[in-house]
């Protein structure tokens, strides 16, 4: 391993914050290994994202605006990343630890005969060896793992774990022609639900509701105004998603999303282990719960015992006033 390749996940010209976190970290690793840092952006809208990526301290951004990326499931991305890895030479690949990032990483493990470290929160290069730190078992343990000195290694990167700092003198943008190939899985329809909302994993403040909400309505009438006051996003526990009050895309926990915002406010959530593992890495945790003995009180920084339906509107007013 000598070089670093960053996979930039994007859709229609929009990317996530984790992209810039990876681009920043890629420079440090590439310098420690004595190699190049290269980003890869694929699909419709790739050129626009490349313009943003070049403001980070990498050497080059490869762009392929192939419409196949948006009409076939994942295979075109696997193809282009494999091609980039082969042309760049031995490299560590940084891939965001997102739903599709995890799928992509698995495919490349086999294509490149690579070792993988998943959900990585720290990377160090010691005597030319890449060491990765990852929380495991829902954060119950932290592992240090070495990617053996094969040609390729893969690290899936936890969003929010690394800082994003623009820099460098403007990366070279290299445009490549689309292959025009066909792939086995065709995307017939791509349906966005809850579009226009901030991605939960990227929100600086998450207001999450649980069983105590009692229905779908409080998520829009109680929690959303508080989230808006903070400039944050609304999330939910598994109980709320299972009850059909919110879409599963809002579910935080072992079987849902993992978030680590600077501020997490849990409203009417008991804090079962299934939920805890999805949010325990948050900076500050505040709980509003009618039960002082709920498990969440054992790890929240502040637990206010009382009626959420009365406290949250008051808090929304105070936060709105404080922000003005």
């Amino acid at each position: 391993m000598k070089n670093v390749i960053v996979y930039v996940e994007q859709k229609k010209g929009a990317t996530r914050k984790v992209t810039f976190e990876m681009l920043t970290e890629a420079r440090k690793i590439a310098d420690a290994l004595g190699g190049r840092a290269v980003a890869v952006v694929l699909g419709a809208g790739a050129a626009a994202v490349a313009e943003q990526a070049k403001n980070y301290p990498i050497d080059a951004v490869q762009v392929v605006e192939d419409s196949a990326v948006d009409t076939f499931l994942l295979d075109p991305i696997v193809h282009y990343l494999e091609a980039t890895a082969k042309s760049v030479g031995p490299a560590l690949l940084l891939i965001p630890n997102t739903l599709s990032g995890r799928d992509l990483a698995g495919r490349l493990v086999a294509r490149l005969n690579a070792g993988i470290a998943a959900d990585v929160t720290e990377i160090a290069v010691t005597n030319g060896r890449v060491e990765c730190v990852s929380p495991k078992l829902g954060g119950a343990l932290v592992t240090h793992c070495v990617l053996r000195a094969g040609d390729y290694g893969i690290a899936t990167i936890r969003p929010g774990a690394f800082a994003a700092v623009p820099g460098g003198s403007g990366a070279a943008i290299e445009r490549h022609d689309a292959q025009g190939a066909s792939y086995p899985l065709t995307i017939e329809r791509d349906v966005e639900e809850g579009s226009g909302e901030m991605a939960l994993e990227e929100a600086p403040v998450v207001i999450a509701g649980g069983r105590g909400m009692g229905g779908a309505e409080p998520f829009t009438t109680l929690l959303k105004p508080l989230a808006d006051a903070f400039g944050g996003a609304v999330g939910a526990s598994r109980a709320a998603a299972d009850a059909g009050w919110v879409s599963y895309s809002l579910q935080i926990g072992q079987t849902g999303k993992t978030v680590s915002p600077p501020l997490y406010i849990a409203v009417g959530i008991s804090g079962a282990i299934q939920h805890k593992v999805g949010m325990r890495a948050s900076g500050t945790i505040v709980a509003i719960n009618k039960d002082a003995s709920a498990p969440i009180a054992e790890f929240a920084d502040l637990t206010v015992v009382g009626d959420a339906f009365a406290i949250v509107p008051e808090l929304t007013k105070l936060v709105t006033a404080a922000k003005q």
Binding site: L73, D75, S100, R102, D103, L104, A105, G106, R107, L108, V109, A110, R111, N113, G115, I116, A118, K136, L137, G139, L141, V142, T143, H144, C145, V146, L147, R148, G153, T156, P184, L185, T186, I187, E188, D190, E192, E193, Y248, S249, T255, L263, R280, G283, T284, V286, A297, E298, F299, D301, V304, V305, G306, A310, I311, P313, E314, L318, V319, A322
Partner: protein, 262 residues
């Protein structure tokens, strides 16, 4: 149609998880072994598929696990699988994602399948990368996070969940599918199923049978686990019972101001 489901045997997720400091592997003694809960959804999807398609369809469960855990696999047979195949070998211990997926692919090539259904995640520290690597080693398309499967004339149409909604995707058999939890709650084994499971076959495969020798275990792996430790504990903070809602809200605001979060 031959439907194969991979399952993993894991320590009961509701039990405490421990790692042996010497071997750096999960401690399995003293903790009940169960089928990975996510894999029960994969099995449920397989059983529903068999019921819909009918005819000569079979559901075979594949499991890579120590032979000593064999009886924990009976639940899958009790739920309705027709048979099981276990890949068991002490040399498999310590296999990483690459080595595990590679060994599994060699066994699954021997077993053969039209559709291979895999649980979405594992509960014991896996990475979510195994299904993708497995599909590549098997040379079949990989459709992940699926909540609905329709198969007609070898053509597959699914609905799969994405970060922001869902997609309809089409492809052709053979393929690998991973299941989302929304595919349907796993059934409970019936009494008849439990009785019948005792007579169903669990066939054994060894590393020699699949010809994997030097690509398995810690030596065949592409990663090496250096150390592990519990993270710094997150202690309990303040618990406040305010006079009234306004005081509760004021307490929170003051706390957030102190932390510079407002």
């Amino acid at each position: 149609m031959k439907i194969v489901v991979t399952v993993k045997l894991v320590p009961d997720p509701n039990g405490e998880k421990k790692i042996d400091p010497a071997t750096k592997r999960l401690v399995r003694t003293g903790v009940e072994t169960v089928i990975n809960p996510y894999d029960e959804y994969a099995l449920e999807a397989a059983l529903q598929l068999k019921e819909r398609i009918g005819g000569e369809s079979t559901v075979t469960v594949f499991c890579m696990s120590p032979e000593s855990l064999k009886e924990s696999l009976r639940k899958a047979l009790a739920m309705g699988a027709d048979g099981a195949v276990m890949l068991s070998d002490s040399s498999l211990e310590g296999s990483d994602v690459w080595a595990s997926a590679h060994a599994m692919s060699l066994a699954l090539k021997r077993i053969g399948f039209d559709i291979l259904i895999v649980g979405g995640l594992t509960d014991d520290g896996s990475t979510g990368a195994v299904p993708g690597a497995l599909a590549e080693f098997l040379g079949v398309p990989c459709l992940t996070n699926v909540r609905k499967i329709d198969i007609a004339d070898g053509k597959v149409r699914v609905e799969r969940e994405t970060d922001s909604g869902y997609q309809e995707v089409t492809g052709a058999l053979p393929m690998l599918v991973t299941t989302a939890l929304t595919i349907g709650e796993p059934r409970y084994p019936s009494l008849k199923g439990i009785m019948g499971a005792k007579k169903k076959p669990i066939d054994m495969l060894s590393v020699a049978d699949i010809g994997a020798a030097d690509t398995v275990g810690a030596t065949g792996s592409k990663t090496e686990l250096l150390s592990f430790a519990p993270p710094p504990a997150r202690g309990a903070g303040q618990i406040v019972t305010p006079e009234d809602p306004a005081a509760g809200a004021a307490t929170i605001l003051a706390f957030l101001k102190e932390k510079k979060l407002v």
